[in-house]
């Protein structure tokens, strides 16, 4: 899901997969807005100029 538009069947499916059945039943509008918010943040996060960029923080062993 990379576009700003979030389809309701997708939202419902993802919400159930996340265990949000109760919220989906009681607060469907809130669930839809939360999904929209996630999609919006994802699209604002920008693209990488190199796919192999190291994530932060790099793996470090514990002593």
């Amino acid at each position: 899901m990379t576009t700003k538009t979030v389809l309701k069947p997708d939202v419902d499916m993802l919400a159930r997969a996340a265990g949000l059945d109760k919220a989906l039943k009681q607060f469907p509008e809130d669930v839809a807005l939360a999904a929209q918010s996630a999609a919006s943040a994802r699209s604002a996060a920008g693209e990488l100029d190199q796919v192999a960029a190291e994530p932060w923080p790099p793996m470090q062993v514990r002593k």
Partner: protein, 477 residues
């Protein structure tokens, strides 16, 4: 002494030492003011009058016996109610945590106690530090002393309100996406988000582990530095704590800014997310003021504000979802509507989104670090609009994301908010000064120079004109 409630922590230390005022006199004066004004402002969730008076008496006894421990001895400090104080509930302003009694002090509270400060009540906030001003919670939202119909900012709302109202000289806030700097800005006081890891998070309920900061709020830059001297330091029990030593954060407060290189991040508020014209004008005037003080001000380019904020939001959503998922599944109706909407967002992000954000975080942090190699501090906007009405949901939703704070939660750089103007509606406007990692000394130096050159920090909200309330606030016992 008159107007004890407006004395700064630094002034109090001198007054205590000279026996011009005592901690008990101060606390009694503050309690009287709180009794009169708190019902209009809702800054506190809980304030135990007997406990704070007992601590004031103890401080008074120690100071009079020649045992003044330092500048915060006998100074009241308000505690945001997401920070543990042993034996008291840490409600997080939520129905979910009403009975959450803290077994031990948070590290920051332990440090304040060791310095002789008086933990002075639990201050209201946005639910779990992420909601908004909500009327469907067990406690009412704090109100802005400059105009009680307007938003005091959040999530450390009670901290900003209490300082601007003259209830306290110091308060603790937490800042995950700007929650110290937003109320500092909206209430016309000072707030510092320190470098990530400088102040321990132990005993503070998490919102987003990699963005969470704890820091001081005050009415002057000097008081902010004094509080940071006490709060900062390594804590082995906080895995994010920085293992570095530090000295006196106020060391350069008198140094001025002649020759200081200031990078003005104008594109944040001019191109990326255009600010309200009065905010733009105040920032331009602040830049000119720095120039008049001898600073070398020039425009400076960072990555786009939307991108910095967008990546920060991925962390906020993903990490806060991790914390709240069990409650959101079982008792979603116990959250305020605003909090529920914000906290469920992480359910719709994937592992790839989080890793992608981690990759972007490294790049964006490198870009900010690179910019700070050419200048000593950054000057940029705080909120991009004056505070809107507390009950205007549409305007809250529009203006809340219009800010330049969250970039520095993402990168971890220290950022100071302080007042730089008043809107035509009589509401504070604020700027940010951002510095290199662990260079709070320079950030505070620049803030102190600006403060000396202007009179914004001497302005007071027109509270007295609103008249005194007749009833005693329910939260004060």
């Amino acid at each position: 002494m008159n107007d004890l409630h407006w004395l700064t922590a630094a002034e109090l230390a001198g007054a205590y030492a000279a026996r011009k005022v005592s901690p008990v006199e101060l606390v009694q004066s503050l309690l009287e003011r709180i009794d009169a004004l708190e019902p209009q402002l809702n800054a506190f969730i809980k304030l135990d009058r007997d406990a704070v008076l007992a601590q004031a008496k103890e401080a008074e006894r120690e100071i009079r016996a020649g045992g003044q421990r330092g500048p915060l001895h006998g100074v009241p400090v308000g505690i945001k109610d997401i920070i543990d104080v042993a034996g008291q509930a840490t409600t997080c302003h939520s129905k979910i945590y009403l009975q959450n009694i803290a077994r031990a002090d948070a590290e920051v509270v332990s440090r304040l106690r060791a310095a002789g400060a008086i933990p002075f009540g639990k201050l209201s906030l946005h639910e779990f530090a992420i909601g908004g001003p909500s009327f469907d919670l067990p406690f009412p939202p704090a109100r802005n002393p400059w105009n009680r119909d307007h938003h005091p900012g959040g999530s450390s709302s009670g901290s900003g309100t209490a300082l601007a109202a003259g209830f306290l000289p110091l308060a603790l806030g937490t800042d995950t996406g700007g929650s110290i700097r937003n109320p500092a800005g909206n209430c016309g006081v000072v707030g510092l988000k320190p470098t990530y890891g400088l102040v321990s998070r132990r005993g503070v309920f998490p919102l987003a582990f990699t963005l969470d900061h704890i820091g001081p709020m005050a009415r002057t830059v000097r008081d902010t530095a004094l509080a940071l001297d006490v709060l900062a330091g390594h804590d082995a029990a906080d895995p994010g704590s920085a293992a570095i030593s530090h000295g006196n954060f106020g060391a350069d407060l008198e140094r001025g800014v002649r020759g200081l290189r200031v990078g003005f991040v104008r594109h944040f508020h001019e191109q990326d997310v255009p600010a309200h014209p009065e905010v733009t004008a105040a920032l331009e005037e602040a830049a000119r003021q720095f120039t008049r003080e001898g600073a070398l001000v020039r425009d400076l380019q960072l990555p786009p504000l939307q991108e910095l904020a967008g990546v920060s939001r991925i962390f906020m959503l993903a990490e806060s979802w991790t914390v709240h998922a069990p409650w959101l599944r079982d008792r979603p109706g116990d959250y305020a509507e605003t909090s529920r909407r914000k906290l469920m967002g992480g359910a719709f992000l994937g592992a790839g989104d989080y890793v992608h954000a981690q990759q972007r975080r490294l790049q964006l942090s490198d870009a900010v670090n690179a910019a700070l190699r050419d200048v000593d501090v950054l000057l940029c906007a705080n909120s991009l609009d004056p505070a809107c009405r507390l009950d205007d949901d549409a305007e809250l939703a529009r203006t809340y994301p219009r800010q330049a704070r969250s970039p520095f939660n993402l990168t971890g750089h220290p950022a100071l908010a302080l007042m730089c103007g008043l809107s035509t509606g009589g509401l504070p406007i604020s700027l940010q000064i951002v510095g290199r990692m662990h260079d709070e000394v320079t950030v505070l130096r620049a803030g102190a120079a600006y403060e000396r050159a202007t009179d914004w920090h001497t302005r007071r909200p027109p509270l007295e004109k609103t008249g005194k309330a007749k009833r005693k606030p329910a939260a004060v016992s």
